[in-house]
Amino acid sequence: MSWNKTVRIVYWSLATVFFFAAAVLVISILKPGPTETQVMSFMSGMMSAMHNSMMGASMQNEEIFMSLLLWSAGASILMIILGIAVGIPLRLWRKYD
């Protein structure tokens, strides 16, 4: 498959994500409710998130909150360094091609 077609598939996929998000918002705002089932599902989701997610852990324990921040920052910096490390050889390869 040519590069052009691959890139256009990526464009279409990302465009779909945003149209999906817009549709979700419109549907959620315009539909009646929330029903009792939806409220209970949301509350139980929130309660389970309190016990086994970073949000809940950070509310109960300051150390986990700080370590989440540091981990996220570290992971982001690692991704950027990886991107630069891949990008520079690619750019040099294209320059001398």
Binding site: W3, N4, V7, R8, V10, Y11, W12, L14, A15, V17, F18, F19, F20, A21, A22, V24, L25, S28, I29, K31, G33, P34, Q38, V39, S41, F42, M43, S44, G45, M46, S48, A49, N52, S53, M54, M55, G56, M59, L68, L69, S72, A73, A75, S76, I77, M79, I80, G83, G87, L90, R91, R94
Partner: protein, 152 residues
């Protein structure tokens, strides 16, 4: 083709991160919205927080690229820069700053200042709605890239 240019790559990484932030953020809005991720709020929260930090670093990178473009008067890769001084690029810049500032307040003020928390939450939500509309408009405006020829 600009396929390996930094601005091009950053634009699409930005789009991917922003799309995920949008979906996870919508799931966290309330009972009427949680169905989008099947009420799995732990996952939504974890993804939203992790990607928010990545989003902050990407914003910083984009600001540096924009400053570099202004200082060196280099308009070669301007079409792929996420930020700019007019149009949708300016709206994206302002909304990114609003998201980051209100997001930091939401993250830090949970136990302390409830008034500030409510204000930050409202602004965060309103900017979300406007950016969803803005993104749909941006996709329509740039819809020529979705066609096979890719020309306007």
């Amino acid at each position: 083709m600009d396929k390996f240019k930094l601005e091009f790559l950053l634009h699409w990484i930005w789009t991917f991160v922003f799309g995920l932030l949008m979906l996870t953020g919508i799931a966290l809005l309330g009972p009427k919205y949680g169905w989008v991720l099947n009420y799995n709020l732990g996952l939504a929260d974890y993804l939203h927080r992790t990607l928010a930090v990545t989003f902050t670093f990407l914003t910083l990178l984009e600001i540096i690229l924009e400053i570099k473009r202004i200082v060196w008067h280099n308009s070669k890769n301007e079409s792929w820069l996420v930020f700019g001084k007019k149009g949708f690029a300016l709206i994206t810049f302002l909304s990114a700053l609003l998201f980051i500032i209100t997001g930091i307040l939401l993250w830090l003020c949970v136990d302390d200042n409830h008034t500030l928390l409510a204000l930050a939450s409202t602004i965060h939500e309103m900017v979300t709605y406007s950016m969803v509309i803005g993104m749909v408009w941006h996709l329509y405006d740039k819809s020529h890239v979705l066609t096979v020829g890719g020309r306007k």
